[in-house]
């Protein structure tokens, strides 16, 4: 690839392409994923069936239990299925397969079974899709022992993380963002893969840690830029892997800054932010200058009406407000 920038969608395509070229056990399942059906509603798989055939890139019925179940079964025999669940809310239909089977079969079999599947699924508020096409449900999956949950804040990261998910021997949920699907960023080098379970300090700073993942990392960086003009230096930590998350990088950052704001697009209550805040409080309580702050979406279904959806969402203003609230 010689293009200088790629979109998140192209990043996913590139990761799957590389994985399929390298390993014939990599197969793709999902609604409309083959080229004749359009290469998926997000076009993320466009061109792959032409290159690898419709045996390996299979359009499925609209049947998420069957899709995830087929991925589980094929994975048990050594295949590396990448199942596209068009939108994250639709995974609720396949939740039994994911939670009771994909996540647990290694443990319940005493290590005999391996389920190296990847679920790619997209979501996120901000596109006017309403209450059943926009939820961020990562905390549900992070709560299940046996699942790895991964999301990217840049196209290059997306490519490196998705490739790592496909090559990983545990079941991975790779979350894409509908609102930034066509956003572009610097293209990664071919072959790039990023290690799972490692966070990334995107911007170094000394006064406050802004910890998050996915789309809000861009907002956090913008807030950091603004506050830097006032002499307040934010460290921005991108988890990259939500579960199992990188304790060391989080604690190292907050031990230095002694203040933390955790941000995610999912609703604040019972979210990933609560887990990270607890970790920080448990490990660094005496060293903190202020309690951790959590920024998340409002506790409601994702609203349709534009002003309501905007009010529901996190964004720069809420992150900045939370940061300022603990800066004295």
């Amino acid at each position: 690839m010689s293009v200088e920038t790629i979109t998140f969608g192209q990043a996913s395509n590139m990761a799957m392409d590389e994985a399929m070229a390298a390993d014939e056990r990599v197969i793709i399942l999902g609604e409309d994923v083959a080229d004749d059906q359009g290469g998926g509603v997000w076009k993320a798989t466009l061109g792959l069936s032409a290159k690898y055939g419709t045996q390996r890139v299979r359009s499925t019925p609209i049947a998420e239990q069957a899709i995830v179940g087929a991925a589980v079964g094929a994975a048990l025999l050594g295949y590396r299925p990448v199942a596209e669940i068009m939108l994250m809310n639709f995974i609720t239909v396949g939740m039994d397969q994911l939670v009771n089977h994909a996540a647990k079969l290694r443990f319940m079999s005493g290590g005999q079974s391996s389920v190296p599947l990847t679920i790619r699924t997209a979501s996120g508020p901000g596109r006017g899709f309403g209450g059943q096409h926009s939820d961020m449900l990562e905390a549900w999956f992070a709560h299940v022992p046996g699942l790895k949950v991964v999301t990217a804040s840049s196209p290059a990261d997306a490519k490196g993380l998705l490739l790592a998910c496909i090559e990983d021997d545990d079941p991975c949920i790779f979350i894409e963002n509908t609102a930034t699907y066509r956003a572009a960023g610097p293209a990664p080098n071919p072959g790039l893969r990023l290690p799972l379970g490692r966070a990334h300090v995107v911007r170094a700073g000394s006064d406050i840690s802004l910890i998050g993942y996915g789309r809000p990392i861009g907002d956090a960086l913008a807030v950091a830029e603004d506050l830097a003009k006032e002499g307040i230096f934010c460290e921005v930590v991108d988890l990259r892997t939500i579960a199992p998350f990188d304790r060391e990088t989080i604690l190292t950052s907050v031990a230095k800054t002694r203040r933390a704001v955790i941000v995610h697009e999912a609703v604040r209550e019972f979210g990933v932010g609560a887990e990270i805040a607890s970790l920080i409080h448990e490990e660094l309580f005496g060293e903190l200058k202020a309690p951790c702050q959590r920024v998340g979406a409002s506790f409601s279904a994702v609203p349709f009406s534009p002003p309501l959806e905007q009010a529901y969402m996190v964004g720069r203003a809420k992150i900045e407000q939370a940061a300022r609230s603990i800066l004295n």
Partner: protein, 328 residues
């Protein structure tokens, strides 16, 4: 119509008999130890359904795959899971097939082809499709048998899985062991279709109904379905009519089963019935006695092994969650 009148050779009949007796003795011994207080485990007896598993597994190859359910002891034994490891797993002991981490509802033993035992009604069917998809893609002529009860035919996963299997002509056999009760509810009270096999048509799938307690009918149906699957002729739904004598879970008094129905079912008990038929067909009684004695000794030895075996080390809770052991 299956070729149910075809005569089976004495070697096949004795093979079926051995599997049936092995199931029967194993089940009897489990119930004796549980009711005697020597073993405290949740237990779903397959009593009454022995022939379905014995004849079906005799018709399959050792390297074919099986997905079964929590009432799966008969399937597991007949498929060839080694008795000591099977017993130890049921007892939660370290030498169990799954190091004691799965238990009676989650037996896995890939060396015998037992890939998944699920405690979730209907969940095995979508996974069986995935196993079948894997063998189809790799060009192996293995068959995947998915065993489940009549209750599972009313859950969504059944519908999604049968449809997908038909669309993709997967080498899978869906074996519905219709024991006429789902938990405590009679078949007719829970199922709109008159019989499970009627549903095959609606998926464009071949359907066969047999008396599951009849060795000849059951063996013929399973053989034919397996031969079709191996030669690319797609899936079959087999409805095997049978009955369960010990209720849903051990301790269930079966108060909801009419006495006359239970009496009629017990009069058609396949275990003494098959022995009688073999003797009528001039199979030497001494050969049957020899099998009985051998099986009894094997079951006693396996039970003693399991009772004497150690429990797993508690460190096992950190192993097999992911491929890499969790940090302490």
């Amino acid at each position: 119509m299956t070729d149910s009148d075809a005569e089976l050779g004495e070697d096949v009949l004795l093979d079926i008999y051995r599997r049936m007796v092995l199931i029967h003795r194993t089940d009897e011994k489990f119930r004796a130890l549980i009711t005697g207080g020597e073993l405290q485990i949740i237990y779903y007896s397959p009593r009454g359904q022995e022939m379905v598993a014995a004849a079906t597994m005799a018709a399959l190859r050792a390297d074919d795959y099986l997905v079964t359910t929590y009432r799966g002891l008969h399937d597991q034994v007949a498929k060839g899971v080694p008795l000591p490891e099977l017993w130890a797993e049921y007892a939660g002991k370290v030498s169990g097939t799954c190091k004691g981490k799965g238990g009676p509802m989650h037996i896995t033993h890939p060396n015998s082809g037992v890939m998944v035992t699920t405690g979730i009604v209907g969940a095995g069917l979508p996974i069986a499709n995935g196993l079948a998809l894997a063998t189809q893609l790799s060009g192996e002529d293995k068959v995947t048998l998915c065993s489940f009860g009549d209750g599972a035919s009313n859950i969504g996963a059944f519908h999604e899985a049968l449809n997908m299997a038909a669309v993709w002509r997967l080498p899978v056999i869906f074996l519905c062991q219709n024991n006429l009760f789902g938990e405590h509810t009679a078949f007719a009270l829970s199922t709109g279709a008159k019989q499970v096999v009627d549903r095959a048509d609606s998926y464009g799938m071949r359907g066969v109904q047999v008396n599951g307690n009849d060795a000849w009918e059951m063996y013929a149906a399973a053989s034919e379905a397996a031969a079709r699957a191996r030669t690319g002729q797609g899936p079959t739904l087999i409805e095997a009519k049978t009955f369960r004598f010990m209720g849903h879970v051990l301790g269930d008094t079966s108060h909801y089963i009419p006495k006359e129905q239970m009496a009629a079912a017990k009069a058609a008990d396949p275990v003494p019935g098959f022995r009688r038929l073999l003797i009528e067909r001039q199979v030497p009684e001494s050969a049957l006695d020899e099998i009985d004695l051998d099986v009894r000794a094997r079951v006693e030895a396996a039970a003693a092994f399991a009772l004497a075996d150690a429990y797993p080390d508690v460190r096992e809770i950190r192993r097999d969650v992911f491929k890499a052991e969790l940090a302490a």
